[in-house]
């Protein structure tokens, strides 16, 4: 990749140095909003596809809309592109009201799940299509197409027709075509869904690299939690037309605000319980599934006696044969199953209450003999600061 390409393809903030994503997130917290979705509703007949969604996406961000099928994420993306009109609410792009602006007049471009390449045009002509619509001079179009094809490393294939390319190459043509007009925002609808697993993992990082180089705001729709975690600066989790939580992948994993988010984003052991003691500096929760109460070293905003859920990530549980010498935050059970995955192992522990707890441990030592095996009686424990408590 040459420097000329980097500069040419950077209408937004300057390219940030490689490998600085956490810092980039912090810096971008002050960045200007580029998309403001204001209380948007979209209904199809009786069906509410998008239900009072408000969301701000900042300039230069790689933002992911994550959710299961039918959660409204694609409808929301299509409203940003202009293919669907909101039933109510407003959409601002770059500070301008775009709610009722047609797709061909919006400063955003979209990369389609099916890639939607023009089959009767060469790779070059596909990438040039948007620039031609703007009536740019021929020489400039040629230069921009060249830059874009260099960016996605497809220059040798410029004269090919799309059906003469492999799936991965088609995906890159689609990316080059949608970036060619230097849109303020690039919308990506399941950009990697059509690739096989190995290529997908590699392409995720490539896509992030390209986004960092050109600096364009990316909004990615995906149903794949790992993909969202790998790529996005921030993720919005959607369910039945609503946004449940918007945060960094780290915050979504460690501080989920609901049961839905905790369960959707990663694996979790979830136990329902009652708040039996609520003090400013600690709380106690009693659960039918756990033999001992759960102690958490901070207060929460709920009444005593309220129903709450205790969410425990499998890797934050410890497993041992010795009984912990404290009155809370542990339980015991029988090893029902061991899933060995090389780097980690997952133990399925059937607790005495009948509930199942999943515990993952890292296999750090090559020669270590596993000392816990099927049907062993074990103790499962956790630190009080690793407990997540959600109220809904």
């Amino acid at each position: 990749m040459t420097d000329a390409v980097l500069q040419a393809g950077a209408p937004g903030p300057a390219a940030r140095p490689e490998g600085s994503r956490p810092g980039a997130v912090l810096r971008r917290a002050e960045a200007r909003p580029i998309i403001e979705i204001d209380d948007v509703v979209k209904t199809f007949g009786e069906f509410v596809a998008v239900d009072h969604v408000s969301l701000t996406i900042r300039e230069g961000e790689l933002f992911a809309l994550l959710g299961g099928s039918g959660c409204g994420k694609t409808t929301l993306l299509r409203m940003l592109a202009g293919f669907e009109r909101p039933t109510a609410g407003r959409i601002l792009i770059g500070g301008q009201d775009m709610t009722h602006v047609a797709p061909y007049d919006r400063p955003v471009n979209m990369m389609f799940q099916s890639y939607a390449l023009f089959p009767h045009m060469s790779v070059e002509a596909n990438v040039a299509f948007g620039l031609r619509q703007d009536g740019l001079p021929k020489a400039e179009i040629r230069d921009r197409v060249r830059q874009m094809l260099d960016l996605v490393q497809l220059a040798p294939f410029a004269k090919r027709k799309p059906h003469h390319l492999s799936g991965g190459q088609r995906q890159r043509v689609a990316l080059a075509r949608s970036l060619a007009k230097h849109p303020k925002v690039l919308l990506l609808d399941e950009p990697l869904a059509a690739l096989d697993k190995k290529l997908r993992e590699q392409t995720q990082l490539e896509l992030v690299g390209i986004q960092e180089r050109v600096g364009t705001t990316f909004v990615v729709v995906t149903h794949d939690q790992e993909e969202a975690m790998t790529m996005a600066d921030r993720v919005a989790i959607m369910d039945s037309g609503r946004i449940i939580q918007v945060d960094t992948p780290h915050a979504l994993y460690e501080y989920p605000n609901t049961r839905f988010v905790a369960e959707f984003f990663g694996t979790v052991n979830m136990f329902q319980g009652d708040l039996i003691e609520d003090e400013p500096d600690h709380i106690l929760i009693r659960s039918d599934a756990l033999a001992n109460p759960v102690y958490v070293g901070h207060g929460i905003s709920a009444r005593e006696g309220a129903t709450v859920w205790v969410a425990l990530r499998p890797e934050k549980l410890a497993i041992s044969r010795t009984r912990p010498d404290r009155a809370h935050n542990w339980d015991q059970g029988i090893i029902e199953d061991i899933v060995y995955l090389g780097g980690i192992s997952t133990y399925h522990v059937r607790l005495d209450s009948g509930a199942l707890a999943r515990v993952t441990t890292q296999n750090l030592e090559r020669m270590a003999e596993p000392d816990i095996t099927w049907d062993d009686r074990v103790f499962v424990s956790w630190r009080h600061d690793n407990v997540v408590v959600v109220t809904g």
Partner: protein, 281 residues
């Protein structure tokens, strides 16, 4: 076991013989010296010479071609427009009714189509003075009417298979709807338009019943001339004409198939190369 495995081949041979022996016989007898259609009198090309001297037959062939080209072209335009309306503009009032109505001519007995068109032309002439009498124009209109239904079906089925997002991509990149249609949708529909046109062309060229109803005195189409001359007795001349028609059709189909096959093979090779290159990269 061996005998059992031969059975399907025998059935296949019988089936094909049933289909093609009559045509083969017809072709052989077109080179017959004898005037009698069923008695072989030696090889000769004289019926071909005779055919090309037959003014009436040649005129009819020209009339047929003119009608076929015109009506196929109009039918392709109208059929495509109606297919777009049904396939692209969502649900509108009475869509189901229209879908049924546009395909009705496919199953309507030709006699009824012909008769109703004749009645319409006659009453139109009485009301507004057009069309004056019946002739090439009325046949063209009649053929357009029923060919349009076929084009509609062909184009609609292609439209269903088209990825809608390709048009959306064009608009997303700044093309207005009309431009997106002309530059993106239309080229993608081209195969359906071509096959719709060819289908209409052959249907029009082939039609006897409807043409007989709406034809005028000076507008006999080829099927009409052939049919009326056959009624007075089959001459080997008709065999010669039929042989030429079969030949033209066969050659056209072979050329089309060869072109398609070559494209397919080139595409497969290019994809294999692309996948290879990617693996090495």
């Amino acid at each position: 076991m061996k005998r059992a495995s031969r059975f399907p081949y025998v059935m296949l041979a019988i089936g094909f013989a049933f289909l093609y022996v009559p045509i083969l016989l017809l072709m052989i007898f077109s080179f017959n010296e004898s005037r009698l259609v069923t008695v072989w009198g030696g090889f000769s090309l004289k019926w071909y010479a005779e055919l090309f001297r037959n003014e009436q037959m040649l005129d009819a062939a020209l009339v047929s071609l003119r009608i076929a080209v015109t009506s196929a072209t109009i039918a392709t335009v109208l059929g495509t427009l109606s297919a777009l309306m049904m396939g692209r503009f969502g649900r509108f009032r009475g869509r189901l009714l229209f879908t049924g109505m546009i395909t009705a001519p496919l199953v309507m007995p030709e006699v009824i189509t012909g008769l109703s068109l004749l009645l319409m032309f006659v009453s139109l002439e009485g009301l507004i003075g057009w069309p004056q009498g019946r002739g090439v124009d009325t046949i063209t209109i009649a053929h357009t009417t029923f060919c349009m239904a076929y084009v509609n079906i062909v184009v609609q089925s292609r439209l269903v298979g088209l990825d809608r997002s390709v048009e959306e991509a064009a608009m997303d990149l700044g093309a207005r709807p009309l431009k997106a249609f002309l530059v993106i949708t239309l080229p993608m529909l081209a195969p359906a338009l071509v096959s719709g046109w060819l289908l209409s062309f052959t249907l029009s060229l082939d039609d006897l019943v409807i043409a007989s109803f709406v034809a005028g005195p000076a507008s006999s189409t080829l099927p009409m001339v052939v049919f009326s001359s056959v009624r007075m007795g089959v001459t080997p001349e008709i065999n010669a004409l039929a042989t030429l028609l079969v030949l033209v059709a066969t050659v056209t189909i072979l050329i089309a198939a060869a072109v398609l096959w070559r494209q397919e093979r080139e595409r497969d090779r290019a994809v294999a190369r692309a996948v290879d290159a990617e693996r090495r990269a």
